[in-house]
Amino acid sequence: MLSLPNTLVTLFLFLLSTDSFAADLFDMLKRMSDADQNQNYQGTFILRKSDNLSTLHVTHGVDENGVWESLEALNGEQRKVLRHNNRVISIFPDRAIITIRHNSKKQSLHPQLPENIEQLEQFYSMSRLEDDRIANHMSLVVDLLPKDECRYGYRYWVDKNTGMLLRCDLVDEDKAVVEQMMFTSLEYLSVKPFQAFELPLFEQFKQQLLQDEPEIDVPQATETEWKVARLPKGFKLTQSTMRNSQSSAASVSGVSAPDLLHMVYSDGLASVSVFIEENQGADKHLQGASSMGAVNAFGHAVEHHFVTVVGEVPKKTVQLMAQSTYKSTQAKAP
């Protein structure tokens, strides 16, 4: 039988080891998140969103000018997406079209959010499973199971040597996989593979500039004007931006003022967007629920405004958030 001092020492060591274990897992997750920015590689992976299975080839490179990446769909219509930092170019060879999108990525309001391991542990149970082999690379396997039904669970397979995410499963409350990404082949390269980013081949294609719209920081008053009454625990406002809604962007040839409030909430793993715009009528907005793999959406009218919530969280979460979004000057929505 253990004496009291021995019991305390045992308890202390247990707590220490538990903390250390969680911290190690969290460090691994951070390493995984950074790995993609620092590696040259090419490989093939599958992406499964519910019933939809895609195979894509990826070539990724890093140099002094930033990150380059080429993603090519290997099934269905030919399509290729090139990315250089925030510029995304989609190529549709069959249609001789390329689309160009330039994202002026904003800084998060809480850039330190992923460092809050204590916060993450409040809402996910973290555990390490038996090592596995993915695309011939040994990987650590980590489970993050949600402690409530407001978010999905994650299972990560991470390359033991590089920290690269080799496989990821998103599972719902019934343990069903709602989204899955897995490398089937992966080769690390010593230098950036330039040949994958040859844009002149497509310069004769018709070009469409998809998004070069203004976005402005939300004035403090507006930011605090809209609230989500029933926000799942752990979700914090990480971004708040005004953008152009589709209607205003389409209807005015000149410059129009951004009229779409975009608020982003995240618990560090899952993120949810709350879009608020003027209500254009029932037939102009998503009414109710919509689902695309792991991403769910729910639209809900709030008097003269329309709230659309989009996120890779369960359907009930987007519905709960949409139906409880209200303007703080008004009475709370039910």
Binding site: D51, E77, V88, F92, D174, L210, V264, L286
Partner: protein, 198 residues
């Protein structure tokens, strides 16, 4: 009549219990007075609620047809007895049920069909890839057209989600999370699926 009123009150209590709306003070007495019939009613209400909330699994579908039948019978809807399914509940549980009898044009069919439509739309609207047999089964029935139309309506509704909102979410909202490259892959695959018009 008195008995009927009592039964209805009891059903209201059960419904309130399932909805978490029963007052805490009544909870204990309600639980203590429960009898086997309450459990049957509760189970049926639970299944019906699940269907209406879209939380049904395929495995429960067979039970749903049974639940619909029992619920309708229980509520004394004017359904001609000739319209009852010829299969027994045992057969239903074995997965060899035949819904055709439910969709015969008899009194009360509107109610049955509306419940069936909810089932079909709800189940078809889910995306876990195991619903084909159900759709196929129901496809053989007269009510299918109704269900299919409603399903198209749902697809239309889904299509009304502005792709720009999804793009903006995928591109701006998820990039700071601990998900490695997954958010980006998600974003570009979504963009690729939403092809530009010529």
């Amino acid at each position: 009549m008195v008995m009927s009123d009592l039964t209805n009150k009891r059903k209201e209590k059960i419904s309130a219990f399932l909805d978490d709306d029963i007052h805490p003070d009544e909870l204990m007495s309600f639980s203590l007075s429960a009898d086997p019939d309450d459990a049957k009613v509760a189970q049926r209400y639970q299944i019906m609620g699940d269907v209406l909330r879209g939380e049904m699994s395929d495995a429960s579908f067979i039970d749903v047809s049974q639940a619909v039948r029992e619920a309708l019978a229980d509520e004394q809807l004017a359904i001609d007895s000739r319209s009852k399914p010829v299969t027994s509940s045992t057969d239903s549980k074995a997965g060899r049920f035949d819904l055709s009898a439910w969709f015969k044009p008899v009194a009360g069919m509107a109610v049955a069909a509306s419940v069936a439509v909810v089932m079909v739309v709800t189940l078809s609207g889910q995306e876990n890839g195991t619903h084909t047999p159900i759709a196929k089964n129901i496809d053989q029935q007269p009510a299918v057209q109704l269900a299919a139309d409603d399903n198209q309506e749902m697809d239309k509704k889904a299509a009304e989600l502005d792709p720009r909102l999804v793009n903006q979410h995928l591109e701006f909202a998820t990039q700071d999370t601990l998900q490695g490259r997954l958010p980006y892959v998600r974003a570009v695959s979504y963009e690729a699926e939403n092809k530009p018009v010529k």
